[in-house]
């Protein structure tokens, strides 16, 4: 266990009542990695993310982010939920949405200072949406919305991006652009994405975390060509296999 680990999870157990979601989960994510978390529906991917964010607490085991408790490290994480529960009729402009990323960084009272506005503008430029700043958020397409929400996360100047199912309901071209953007961002921060889309992901990521009640790590190089399609096609079967202590990661 290295000290600099961005995320370090040890022997975590989590259940909703009697339904065990995660058990014996241990995982390290190092600085600058591009990690994909994959697994079938209900395997505990989102729960794993929420443990990292400190939105949930494990019943057993420990979760450390940047060497501290998740709650203390929260501000260094840029998180994008799977289905942001947003009201798309909300009277708010793109610029206002991105500025929300600055909350908790500067003054608490009154309007945002110009330094915050500049940071928000930089974030919008980074996702190539600077021209959308004064548009109503409600008037955006799905892909634009996604980018604006990434800009909101970037405005907080995070050290790690956590992304739950980024490609859900986006058409392939937009998906491709999104991965290129994440790849670019990975040059200066750790990127963790949850995805069922292994084929696309493996081109960019260095590490794959398979989740199904417990986790198994793969190097991205292990997953190539035919193996990808095999894994993708028979994901459930293979991951259940993993569950039976076939791998050991100590």
């Amino acid at each position: 266990m290295s000290v600099e680990s961005v995320i370090s999870i040890r022997d975590v157990f989590f259940s909703f009542g009697r339904h065990i979601v995660l058990e014996n989960v241990s995982l390290d994510i190092e600085d600058g990695e591009f990690v994909a978390v994959i697994g079938p529906n209900g395997a505990g991917k989102t729960t794993l993310l929420k443990l990292i964010l400190g939105l949930l607490e494990p019943q057993r085991g420990s979760v450390r982010v940047f060497g501290t408790k998740p709650l203390a490290a929260r501000r260094r994480i840029g998180y994008m939920p799977q289905y942001p529960r947003l009201d798309y009729d909300f009277p708010v402009t793109v610029g206002d949405v991105v500025l929300m990323g600055r909350l908790g960084l500067s003054s608490k009272l009154g309007p945002y200072p110009s330094s915050d506005r500049q940071a928000a503008d930089r974030a919008l430029e980074e996702v190539s949406c600077a021209d959308l700043r004064d548009r109503p958020f409600s008037a955006l397409s799905g892909g634009q919305r996604q980018r604006v929400l990434i800009a909101r996360a970037l405005a907080a100047e995070p050290d790690v991006l956590l992304f739950d199912e980024p490609t859900l309901s986006l058409d392939p071209e937009v998906q491709h652009d999104l991965y290129e953007l994440l790849h670019m961002l990975n040059e200066r921060m750790t990127v963790i994405i949850v995805s069922h889309d292994v084929g696309f992901v493996s081109k960019y990521v260095q590490k794959i975390v398979c989740v199904n009640r417990t986790v198994v790590l793969h190097c991205a190089s292990e997953i190539n060509g035919n193996i990808v399609s095999m894994l993708y096609g028979d994901m459930d079967v293979r991951l259940v296999d993993h569950d039976s202590r076939a791998h050991n990661h100590d």
Binding site: R85, P91, V92, D96, V97, M100, G104, A156
Partner: protein, 294 residues
């Protein structure tokens, strides 16, 4: 002719001037806080707060008559009850989780029951009950106007000073939480501001109709706004126009001003919502034609 009668009456009678001031003050508070209430979708909580306020008003009214506590204006009772109810709902949200709506409904009815009980046990005439329930803007005395001014300053300052946080909490609570915004605090704060706004509306439309004035002008304003603060300004202006017009219309034929104002607001709301779709389509067609021509 009716309008000129009304204008003449304003000059003549101080109670009408008080009524107009009270209407405008309530409208400003409504525009700012109503915008948060509508976008955060807590209008039913506002309804519950409004009705539970009767408990405090009834208690103050009783104490004033029975013990001769002249200083105890029923609006003070309303303020205490409103803030208390706001805290109860906030606590219920944290601990009762999905049973939150039961608490909201219970508070609604129990508050009213307490109020009605006190008012019926108060010695003397009970005409005030109707004022509290259905509003009577011409009943606003000087003491009430002063109180309304202070309340307005408090509400508008609170609502604007924490604009960024409240906007974030209304738009995306989970994100605000992850950015270190204390969402429990700001949610409770918003409920308290809502409770105080309701108090400013009691004389204008009465507690039964508070939610209508708190939501209808705001909802109309929302159709023409791309930013939250625009919605606040528009809603405050529209609401002032509605309360003033409501008062003017009701004055001549001696109609209840509260109900007149609400019906007016309801008419505007329905017309704008019916008209918005066709209007938008017409604009789109116009733009397309112009583009085709150019």
């Amino acid at each position: 002719m009716i309008m000129s009668d009304f204008l003449g009456a304003i000059v003549e009678h101080s109670f009408l001037r008080n009524a107009l001031i009270a209407g405008a003050l309530a409208s400003i508070a409504c525009g700012v806080i109503g915008t948060y209430v509508v976008t955060r979708r807590i209008t039913l909580i506002a309804g519950s707060l409004a009705h539970s306020v009767l408990g405090g008003m009834g208690a103050a009214y009783y104490a004033r008559v029975a013990y001769g506590w002249e200083w105890l204006h029923p609006l003070y009772g309303a303020m205490v009850a409103a803030i208390l109810a706001a805290f109860i709902i906030s606590v219920a949200r944290i601990y009762a989780k999905e049973r939150e709506d039961t608490v909201i409904s219970a508070l609604w009815a129990i508050g009213m029951a307490i109020g009605i009980m006190f008012i019926f046990r108060t010695p003397g005439y009970k005409t005030d009950l109707m004022t509290y329930l259905f509003g009577n803007i011409v009943m606003v005395d000087d003491q009430a106007v002063q109180l309304l001014i202070w309340l307005d300053i408090l509400i508008v300052t609170g609502g604007l000073l924490f604009y960024n946080q409240l906007l974030a909490v209304c738009f995306d609570e989970e994100f605000a939480k992850l950015r270190g915004v204390n969402i429990t605090f700001f949610y409770t704060f918003l409920l308290c501001l809502t409770a105080l706004t309701i108090v400013t509306l009691i004389y204008v439309v009465g507690i039964v109709m508070v939610i209508a004035l708190m939501t209808l002008p705001v909802s109309v304003a929302g159709r023409f706004s791309t930013k939250l603060w625009q919605m606040m300004v528009l809603a405050a202006i529209l609401s002032t126009i509605l309360t003033t017009t409501g008062l003017a219309i009701s004055y001549g034929p001696d109609l209840p001003p509260g109900a007149t104002t609400i019906l007016l607001a309801g008419t505007v709301y329905v017309l704008v919502n019916l008209g918005a779709g066709p209007l938008r389509r017409a604009i789109v067609i116009l733009i397309k034609r112009r583009q085709a021509a150019g």
